[in-house]
Symmetry: C2
């Protein structure tokens, strides 16, 4: 089943636009719990509340071989009807991008991946050519320094708008989406205007301080379904004690409901 | 020993600016040879001819756990007086970039890494704060689509020049360099003008078709040492038969000599 269909079904089944970022950080996890055990507990506690899971590869790579093994185990634990997004932000020349696409889609089996735009079309095409997979291109990211380059003005408009327009132009298979930070609701609204039908992956709610009602009002399209709102730390580390799974469930449930309050058709 | 010193020593010892990209591709390697065996043969055949080795992580990640193990083995095989550059082109928000820096510098033990600029300062700082390590920021890449965004004009100058200037501004620890493709000698000359003292990592000679004499004349500074010229496929796959190591040595030796013909002080 392709990414879009799997996502649409999961959104409807769990009545949720919430994506949980599976970013296990040993410095924040309860002592004595492995990454795979931690993720298993989080998945068991939230699988009826989410539309997707998004592991960020950095947290696994930091633990070396053990981390990569934990990522493989985690992907095997995620129910097959919940889409997975490999948050890898890769971007390399065509010959090499093909290897990254193989790693993320063929080896790990992610349903979608995040990709950086800086190298242009031939760095993105090896991902989009997997027509059943999703590709989220970084557009306006959630971090404070996003403005360093993304806001630079080209022909009177910020660089990120040019990225959004290129994404639209490159979207011949209909499998491109955009990453837009929740911390910048004005930019989010502008990108939604430029790309009315594109799926937006929106991180930055929670620990990063994004304004949830503003994000939902301005980032979701009229169907009320064309966005994925990612939360990591606020769910994973709702408690850092042995009750972390229950606390994660409560946090995820509250977030799902708060998102639904503001979206049409929930 | 910090990256800069190790690099300077290796350049002098081997009288070489040549870096070999250790990018093992099973579709091009002789049959029956593992990645680690392939790299061992390439390293044994070229260790007196290079100033650095640059594994691109994509090729290892495409092989999953086995690939990561092969990368660890490869790093253990590289003589400790030859610097290693982890070509990962990572770029993520600060909290996550710290995990990538841990993976590349602490876990794998690379002496330097490549980083993408799109997310701005707080995505780069977790790398540069390792003061003994090198950080090569993507500036003007070697691929045809580099122009899609990197050439867009901001205040009358291409985006990549703004990246070069930011890199200079951020370079408080003196450990930032720039990645500039050999396929664009005019852009290379312009970046050298903007950043006269910065180390440039120059891929794109060989399979990508960059013009070697032009690159050396225009990219290297007056000391004749402040650049690293990377070649991957033209060395690794000089022969795809069982004589690949000897063929790689001959190719690397010819490239080293050709670079030296055009650089001052070789």
């Amino acid at each position: 089943m392709n990414f879009q269909t799997k996502l649409r079904d999961a959104i409807a089944r769990n009545n949720s636009l919430l994506c949980v970022g599976l970013d296990p950080n040993p410095r924040l996890m309860p002592p004595g719990v492995t990454m795979a055990q931690f993720n298993r507990a989080i998945i068991d506690a939230t699988r009826d509340l989410v539309c997707a899971y998004k592991p960020n590869l950095a947290f696994y790579e930091a633990a070396g071989l053990e981390g990569v093994r934990a990522l493989e185990e985690t992907l095997a634990l995620i129910p097959s009807d919940i889409p997975t997004i490999g948050d890898a932000k890769r971007g390399d020349i065509g010959n090499t991008a093909r290897e990254y696409a193989r790693a993320l889609y063929d080896h790990f089996g992610f349903d979608a991946a995040t990709v950086s735009p800086y190298l242009g079309f031939d760095s993105v095409e090896p991902f989009t050519s997997y027509e059943d997979k999703g590709v989220f291109l970084l557009c306006r990211t959630s971090n404070p320094s996003a403005r360093d380059f993304q806001d630079l003005r080209v022909d009177g408009r910020p660089l990120y708008e040019h990225v959004a327009e290129k994404a639209r132009e490159w979207n011949v298979h209909g499998n491109i989406g955009l990453v837009v930070g929740a911390t910048y609701p004005d930019e989010l609204a502008r990108i939604r205007e430029l790309c009315p039908a594109m799926c937006l992956l929106v991180p930055g709610i929670g620990a990063q301080g994004g304004d949830l009602p503003a994000v939902v009002r301005r980032g979701i399209d009229e169907s009320g379904t064309n966005a994925i709102i990612n939360v990591s730390r606020k769910v994973l580390y709702a408690s850092q004690e042995s009750d972390f799974a229950g606390a994660a469930r409560a946090a995820a449930s509250a977030l799902r409901d708060e998102i639904n309050e503001h979206r049409p058709g929930a």
